[in-house]
């Protein structure tokens, strides 16, 4: 049997793999991408995208309802939401077409997309099904395997439900758990959130407080520092046993979703031994594994499990596999909660900045006086941590419905290391939600 040959083999077609393959093709490498499922990976098919689309539609509906309820001249007879149907439609009308267009993009650039599970056999060959592929360089981007403990549903399956649970326990106070918790809370489920540490670890404290309060106000029950020890199936009812500082607790619900249990999909390395770090594939700042012609990108590297980290890693791995020499720098990775409300924390939190010895100035601004926030139904707060000595922007944090519109401004300002005065001299347009940054930074100008 003759082997296929290529310059670059990409394994996995999630955000990391898609971008690595795209870059390799743009750089003129003969590229093959192997994916066992639909292109787009966890993010497009079972994570960020369906969740975000759903939350956006619900927000839009809530805005319409608000216009009706508050006498803006909108009348609305009967607004009902069939969530099961909505999830199905999102899959067929949004997710699947997007996955298809990802394939078109790759194929138009000359990438050969092979459907099947890949296994590395050596440092320059892999097997996909019955096919052997010889490669010069490879990017491995196989992501995570999510699995719920004791038969709990993994977060990647929440769109598959055939009935909205009246009570649901969500395990994991991370961005994914909170996203799912707020989705079900918007659908009217009684939601119980369980986290064995604190909510949104790594986010600025004020942001965490804002989100916590908003969820509590919506009726979500929250148990922090609570460890799930068992989940028992009692017919249609699931009983979650947890231990928190007050003792043991049992919570009955229709459904338990575990957003806290996942492992990297390292099995793909089969015949190649690579160094691991904490169970994840170890990479250097060029995204090289310990086998230098094999790169790794995305969730499998054990960095913050966000699509934007996976994408940037994929781009850099792709460029370096094509002869580039780029280093990745995680200093300004925004932590992102796409939920209801949204939140993000980019750069240093106030506490981190103080710990690092910065003389800190903090600017806070609410969206209540922002014209466009009113129009889009956005609300919330923005908090900017500034180095009082030089005016450098160290961290930008936000919480509130729709606040995530500002996350890219935050990422760019931090990535390019801006200062308060540089932003004030920048023509942020009016009316926009983003000009809230100016309103905040004027409080800490150095000039």
């Amino acid at each position: 049997m003759s082997a296929k040959e290529c310059d670059l083999l990409v394994i996995g077609g999630g955000p990391a793999g898609f971008w690595a393959g795209l870059v390799g093709a743009i750089k003129g490498l003969k590229t093959i991408l192997a994916e066992e499922g639909p292109l787009g990976g966890t993010c497009l098919n079972r994570g960020c995208v369906p969740l975000a689309v759903f939350l956006n539609y619900i927000s839009a509906l809530r805005l319409v309802k608000k216009l009706a309820d508050e006498g803006y001249g909108v009348s609305l007879k009967d607004l009902t939401i069939d969530a099961v149907n909505m999830f199905k439609s999102i899959k067929s009308k949004v997710v699947d077409p997007l996955s298809g267009s990802m394939r078109d993009v790759l194929e138009n650039l000359g990438v050969e997309v092979i459907n099947g599970r890949a296994l590395l056999e050596s440092g320059n060959s892999a097997r996909v099904g019955s096919e052997v592929i010889k490669f010069k360089r490879a990017v491995v981007a196989t992501g995570l395997r999510w699995g719920g403990i004791n038969g709990a549903m993994p977060p990647t399956e929440f769109t598959d439900i055939d009935e909205v649970p009246s009570t649901v326990v969500v395990i994991g106070g991370n961005a994914f758990g909170l996203g799912i918790a707020s989705a079900f809370s918007l659908l009217g489920s009684e939601v119980i959130l369980v986290e064995d540490g604190e909510l949104l670890s790594g986010f600025d404290k004020e942001i965490v407080d804002y989100v916590t309060l908003a969820l509590l106000e919506r009726g979500v029950r929250i148990f922090t520092n609570a460890k799930v020890v068992n989940i028992i199936n009692k017919g249609d009812i699931k009983e979650t046993h947890l231990i928190n500082p007050e003792g043991e607790l049992r919570i009955s619900s229709d459904e338990v979703i575990d957003a806290s249990t996942y492992v990297p999909r390292n099995e793909v390395f089969g015949g190649v031994s690579v160094r691991l770090k904490g169970g994840y594939v170890a990479v250097d700042e060029y995204l090289r594994t310990s086998t230098p012609n094999i790169y790794a990108a995305g969730d499998i590297t054990g960095n913050l499990p966000y699509a934007h980290v996976a994408i940037v890693q994929g781009i850099i791995a792709g460029l370096n596999a094509s002869g580039g020499n780029l280093r990745i720098n995680y200093k300004a990775v925004p932590k992102y909660l796409y939920a209801y409300p949204d939140a993000f924390s980019a750069g240093l939190t106030e506490a981190e900045a103080k710990e690092l010895g910065y003389e800190v100035a903090v600017a806070r601004q609410s969206l209540t006086s922002n014209a466009l926030a009113k129009a889009s139904g956005s609300e919330g707060i923005i908090k900017i941590v500034v180095d009082a000595k030089y005016g450098g922007i160290l961290g930008i944090h936000g919480a509130g419905v729709g606040i995530s519109e500002l996350i890219n401004e935050a990422a760019i300002l931090l990535g390019l290391e801006s200062t308060s005065d540089a932003v004030l001299a920048t023509f942020l347009a009016h009316p926009t939600v983003g000009e809230v940054l100016r309103e905040a930074l004027i409080q800490v100008t150095k000039s």
Binding site: K27, Y390, G391, G392, S418, T419
Partner: protein, 399 residues
């Protein structure tokens, strides 16, 4: 196989190098180990060998450009081989433009090298007085980040300008800075010459033993040589007015007061309190004043007045085992006396070798104002006084 040629790191402190000359042109065949190009750093010029055999298929950084260490400068490969498209634009810092040709009357200033840096890096560099063109950028496309500036600052702190490793950096205290400034000003502005004499000081020792109990009894202070020398020097200065002068606006101004300073070592420095009108004061008064000033010096409470107005200085390194040395004049004075240790040595006395207590006196003078013989006469006058018991006893009257 395409081989990348990168700017090598030729020394610990090298951050970038300038390409002086390519020894091969694009398309030339090269053998591994063959001289390929010449690079220049702040310290050396060096020939770089080809890392692989093949053809020089692409020169990325042209002669004249300055390139950070580790950056791509060329590719070696097979004829017709595809070079990987260059993703990160090579971080080439254009060197200064060539100087204007000599016949030009008005020289144009060299174009400043374009520096790309983040606003945070700029703000930090500005506050810390760092020249960003000296900082190697690690960001996308060579962008200088705040971290790069911090590392640069750390780097200059960790190495001396000549690249020597630093174990510890001690910031100059204001006192140390003043001393540094005044000492170099002193040497820069004066023509200093030091003359030395070793002499028998047995009379001085004898008188100290004699006066010590008296002083101790009267004022409760142990008598040291310093007040005795201050008083003796003040007396001799009366006879040698040029030593007690200053050079100002092309005039030598002989000063009508005799104010003798004495150097006191304190933490990380030296201060020189002054005994004003030492010639008019009794030994007892000088003892009390010296004691008081030395205490203030150690406690750091000397007033400006305590340290100003000196016309001559004595510095004593005897307690550190030093014999002769070359003290530096305390401007605007014109001379300083260094006193060494008193040590028993064989000496010829009346044609016989005897063991005598000897001490070396080092006199530095400003040759612009004082000639060698004038200085020698002053030193001789002092030594004569110290050797004449009667005269010395008269000068060192207790009260």
């Amino acid at each position: 196989m395409v081989t990348e040629v990168r700017m090598p790191k030729l020394g610990l402190t090298m951050t970038k190098g300038t390409i002086k000359k390519w020894l091969k042109s694009e398309g030339d065949a090269v053998r591994k180990g063959e001289p390929l190009l010449i690079i220049e750093t702040e310290k050396i010029t060096s020939t770089i060998e080809a890392p692989a055999s093949g053809y020089l298929i692409k020169i990325v950084a042209q002669a004249g450009s300055t390139v950070p260490v580790g950056n791509l400068i060329a590719y070696i490969g097979e004829m017709g081989e595809q070079i990987p498209s260059i993703t990160a634009a090579p971080e080439v810092v254009p060197t200064q433009v060539a100087p204007a040709p000599p016949e030009r009357v008005v020289a144009r200033p060299a174009a400043p090298a374009r520096v790309r840096a983040t606003p945070r890096a700029r703000a930090l560099a500005e506050k810390e007085g760092i020249d960003l063109s000296q900082v190697a950028g690690s960001g996308p496309g060579g962008l200088i980040t705040e971290d790069d500036v911090l590392k640069y600052i750390e780097g200059i702190k960790a190495r001396t300008k000549l690249g020597l490793r630093v174990k510890k950096s001690i910031p100059l205290t204001p006192l140390r800075a003043t001393i540094a400034e005044r000492m170099s000003e002193s040497l820069r502005t004066m023509a200093q010459v030091t003359i030395m004499r070793e002499e028998d000081v047995s009379k001085l020792i004898k008188l100290r033993e004699e006066l010590q109990p008296v002083i101790e009894k009267e004022v409760g202070i142990r008598l040291t040589y310093t007040p005795m020398l201050i008083k003796a020097v003040a007396e001799v200065l009366k006879e040698h007015p040029l030593i007690n002068s200053t050079l100002e606006d092309n005039e030598i101004k002989v000063i009508d007061e005799i104010n003798v300073g004495f150097a006191v070592a304190v933490d990380h420095g030296l201060v020189v309190p002054v005994i004003k009108n030492a010639d008019k004061k009794s030994l007892k008064d000088i003892v009390i004043e010296c004691n008081e000033l030395a205490r203030k010096a150690r406690e750091g409470t000397l007033s400006l007045d305590d340290v100003s107005g000196g016309t001559f200085t004595i510095t004593n390194l005897g307690m550190y085992g030093v014999d002769g040395f070359t003290p530096i004049i305390n401007p605007p004075q014109v001379a300083i006396l260094g006193v060494g240790r008193i040590i028993s040595k064989p000496a010829v006395v009346d044609g016989r070798v005897d063991v005598r207590p000897l001490c070396t006196f080092s006199l530095t003078f400003d040759h612009r104002v004082i000639d060698g013989h004038t200085a020698a006469q002053f030193l001789d006058g002092l030594i004569k006084l110290l050797g004449n018991e009667t005269a010395l006893r008269e000068v060192l009257r207790v009260s």
